[in-house]
């Protein structure tokens, strides 16, 4: 039988601990187990470690995507030469064009050539127009980003504001109106919204410009008035998603104990939402904003076609119809890069927004 008597020398001094000596346990988990430089770093500054991890992951992901794009394009049936030459192509002519474009070389060689060029910003030459892809894309991308930027500038603050408003007037008229309106906007396909806007503002009232074509040497205000309708369409399409997510995220936080605490402090409704609920709803809201930003850049194909806007989306669609592979690949890679970059940014912002990671114990 084990003897019950005897104390533990480590525990002496505990008996005298009054209210003043209550402190977290001194034993640290860090003094044990495997020790690697990375492990040490990630314990010292978990925030930096997590952000570095995300960056590395994004780079790896981008490489994987480049492989998939190249492989996918490679696996497409049909090829440029036969499309270009049409029905009457002789095998010799086809062979010549293939050789001309370097298609006789093995796929791995072409992949690394393409990737090497892409890393330096050179996406090769368009097969159809024999122009530099990078130059063409540069202009188009600028146009797309211009449109996306203004759509984002309007939709994000509007979505967050309306989301907070919906929470403040939860289940009352304002909330219901916002909800029905945003549901309607999200339910209509964007080309339909686009045509509706054209019908009302361009055709009937004549206060907006259509088509939304922009060209070099156009003045800034002219450009703005040209993109008014496509911007409005995009805002309507992405607004509902972000607004509803903001509302849901804040409502979720509103049922937490610390919001009850704020309410029992006698704070005003808006202060509770803005100071106590919003900071804790940031992470999901940032994520949905990033998704919608990505959509604004990547998913605007239909809107660009409807408004005849010379952006990336239209460029890519044109290239696919003629099997202009360097252009398709370049557009694909740039779109993927945007998607990954925006999501990574959202991840990193969400990590930074977490006080536990910002201020480790």
């Amino acid at each position: 039988m084990t003897e019950a008597a005897g104390g533990n020398p480590q525990l002496s001094g505990l008996a005298g601990s009054g209210p003043t000596t209550q402190s977290p346990p001194a034993a640290s988990p860090n003094d044990q187990g495997s020790f690697s430089p990375w492990g040490g770093f990630s314990r010292r500054s978990p925030l930096a470690a997590l952000i570095l991890q995300r960056l590395a992951l994004s780079v790896a992901l981008l490489f994987a995507v480049s492989l998939m794009i190249f492989g996918g394009v490679e696996a497409l049936p049909g090829d440029f030469a036969t499309t270009y030459l049409g029905q009457s192509a002789t095998p010799q002519a086809v062979e010549n064009i293939r050789k001309d474009l370097g298609l006789d070389q093995p796929a791995t060689t072409r992949y690394f050539q393409w990737l090497g060029g892409a890393l330096q910003g050179d996406f090769g030459t368009s097969w159809a127009s024999r122009n530099s892809v990078s130059e063409q894309i540069g202009k188009r991308l600028g146009n797309s980003l211009f449109l996306a930027f203004f759509a984002a500038l309007i939709s994000i603050p509007l979505a967050i504001g309306l989301g907070m408003l919906a929470v403040q007037f939860r289940d009352r008229l304002a909330d219901k109106v916002i909800n029905v309106f945003s549901l309607a906007a999200i339910s209509l396909p964007e080309f339909f919204v686009g045509y509706l806007l054209i019908l009302f503002f361009a055709v009937q009232m004549g206060i907006a410009t259509f088509p939304a074509t922009v060209y070099d040497g156009m003045g800034f205000t002219q450009r703005l008035s040209a993109i008014a309708l496509p911007t409005a369409t995009l805002v309507l399409v992405v607004l509902a998603h972000m607004m509803r997510m903001t509302r849901a995220a804040i409502l979720n936080v509103m049922s937490s104990a610390y919001v009850e605490t704020a309410e029992l402090k006698g704070l005003s409704g808006l202060r509770i939402i803005a100071r106590h609920a919003a900071p804790n709803a940031v992470a999901p809201v940032i994520n949905v904003i990033a998704l919608n930003l990505a959509y604004l850049v990547v998913g605007v194909v239909v809107v660009e076609v409807v408004f005849v806007y010379p952006g990336m989306g239209q460029y890519m669609v044109d290239a696919v119809t003629v099997r202009d592979m360097p252009v398709v690949q370049a557009c694909g890679l740039i779109f993927a890069a945007f998607y990954i970059f925006l999501n990574m940014t959202a991840d990193i912002l969400a990590i930074i927004a977490n006080p536990r990671l910002r201020h480790p114990r």
Partner: protein, 548 residues
């Protein structure tokens, strides 16, 4: 009844509180939660509200802030604060009372503090927003309160975020937050229930000191009569939303008139003799060290043993490694060093390596019965599953045995086809016991099976476990943080602290002097149903630390 006084700060008259319940498949109906409740709180005095869960304690406490949690409505009566009926105020009027004249301290400060802001900002927020003091004054007062409440490094404490301090410190910070605007009344809603006993006593002392020093009146809500006896002047006993007994603390503790109050006062009275012969070992744990893959060791070099047909109580605070020990024994967490022997044979360390027969002989009961049961299975299926798994029983035989088991846990046939959601907390725990018994085990590991239950219900479960032990000769390893439970059921006791075994042996030896420092602290921290106990303990502590 306490003397009616003209200096009533808060008078609650004929309170009625209702809520709407939405039973599935039926029209919504109105439920009365609280009815006919009257009480007074005088300036600078403390009233204790006591009762089991569902008694309406918190609901009544929150009426002092004219607040109904989760759709609860105050539908009748008066809540007079200095003669002003709070229920007649508009929203703006109520806001002026909340956080200024009446403040609230929640049960879980960890959840009640906003994780995104520093503690100091949150502590002074109400004072600033209500325009009670300037920022400089509020910060000065916060510092003073941190000092009074015995928080470490009071100068920099406010700079910290909630996740950077311990649970006991958060609870004290929440008290500071409530005291900061100089309120007339504070509602404490079970402020120490979620804490370990050794922490509870510090927080209790800090709260008592702070409200005495600031002459603040308080309503103190708890289910623990021994705690309330240390801190209040009057006690109101509640049950099912109605008043049972209302009197001074002395009258309630020393001369209760109602049967329910008497039962509450005597709930810790049970105890049993330990078994004399503790040599026939069933379970043996040898030098077990266990932890997680990141290198953190939760258990260090633990050795103990448990005789057949007896109960070993493993006692310690949260984080002491009690539950990890159970996980090692079940094989859920293979030990890094050491071994577990069961009935003379070594047990394979990992769950995967164990045979069905080895699994059958060790069963488990958990703290939260409702999370340990599939909500979509009936009692028949929950209890019947081990019968099919271990004994291959089906159909009539199985039903017969389930009936037998329900009989053993003192619940009848009528529970056969109920779902867990249709059972009370105590009934759920009984079903969990029946499920464990169904395997006819030799050892049941009980992980705090009574700590989520109300005292009287918990007592019923303990009695049931003892009865079952007599009938079936099953052994229990009973994990708990409650010394009273240990006294009631154990034959031998193991005291754990920070992953190490501090003390182990027969109950009579472990729980009597000479003590090691930690066991001494632990035993002295358990509140006793005695007025003035807190002062006594604190005095001895001061003398000891002065002597050191």
């Amino acid at each position: 009844m306490p003397e009616p006084s003209t200096a009533n700060l808060l008078s609650v008259r004929n309170l009625k509180i209702e809520a709407t319940s939405y039973p599935p498949g039926e029209p919504p109906k109105t439920v009365t939660l609280v009815e006919g409740v009257n009480f007074d709180v005088q300036k600078g005095k403390v009233l204790g509200l006591i009762g089991e869960s569902g008694a309406g304690k918190s609901t009544i406490g929150l009426t002092a802030l004219a607040y109904g949690r989760g759709g609860v409505r105050i539908t009748g009566g008066e809540v007079l604060l200095d003669g002003q009926d709070l229920l007649k105020l508009d929203h703006a009027g109520i806001r002026k009372v909340r956080g200024a004249r009446v403040c609230y301290v929640a049960q879980s400060a960890a959840a009640a503090f906003n994780p995104a802001h520093r503690l100091g900002e949150q502590v002074i927020e109400a004072s600033l927003r209500h325009g009670i003091m300037s920022r400089a004054e509020a910060e000065k007062r916060a510092l003073h309160l941190f000092n009074v409440l015995g928080l470490p490094n009071p100068e920099t404490f406010g700079q910290r975020y909630p996740h950077q301090v311990s649970g006991g410190q958060l609870q004290r910070a929440m008290t500071a937050m409530a005291l900061c605007p100089n309120p007339d009344l504070i509602v404490f809603d079970e402020p120490t229930t979620a804490l370990d006993v050794t922490t509870q006593i510090d927080v209790l002392a800090a709260i008592k000191h702070a409200i005495e020093e600031t002459h603040t009146a308080a309503i103190y809500i708890t289910h623990d009569l021994a705690v309330v006896a240390q801190i209040t002047d009057d006690i109101l006993v509640l049950r099912h939303g109605k008043m049972v007994e209302y009197g001074t603390v002395k009258q309630i503790i020393e001369a209760p008139t109602q049967d329910y109050t008497k039962a509450l006062v005597n709930v810790r009275g049970t105890g049993r003799e330990e078994a004399k012969d503790q040599s026939d070992t069933l379970l043996k744990v040898d030098n077990v060290t266990a932890g997680y893959s990141n290198g953190f060791k939760v258990l260090r070099d633990v050795s103990l043993h448990l005789p057949k047909g007896q109960t070993l109580a493993v006692v310690g605070e949260s984080g002491s490694g009690k539950s990890t020990l159970a996980r090692v024994i079940t094989g859920l967490l293979p030990p890094q060093e050491g071994a577990v022997t069961f009935d003379g044979k070594p047990l394979p360390p990992a769950l995967k390596g164990r045979k069905n027969e080895e699994l059958r002989r060790i069963q488990m009961i958990y703290q939260m019965a409702d999370t340990a049961m599939n909500p979509r299975q009936t009692v028949r299926n929950i209890v019947g599953r081990p019968l099919t798994f271990y004994y291959g029983l089906h159909g009539k035989q199985k039903t017969e045995r389930v009936r037998e088991l329900l009989d053993q846990i003192e619940m009848g046939d009528r529970f056969l086809d109920r779902y867990p959601a249709e059972l009370s907390g105590g009934q759920k725990q009984r079903v969990a016991i029946a499920r464990a018994l169904a395997a006819r085990p030799d050892l049941i590991l009980c992980d705090e099976p009574t700590s989520a239950l109300d005292p009287l219900v918990a007592e019923g479960i303990l009695k049931l476990l003892l009865k079952l032990q007599e009938e079936t000769q099953v052994s229990y390893m009973f994990i708990t943080h409650d010394i009273a439970t240990v006294r009631a059921i154990a034959d031998s006791v193991a005291v754990m602290h920070r992953g190490r075994l501090v003390r182990f042996g027969p109950k009579s030896k472990v729980l009597s002097p000479p003590f090691d420092d930690y066991t001494d602290l632990l035993l002295k921290s358990v509140p006793e149903m005695e007025i003035g106990w807190l002062e006594k303990v604190l005095k001895t502590r001061r003398m000891e630390s002065a002597g050191n």
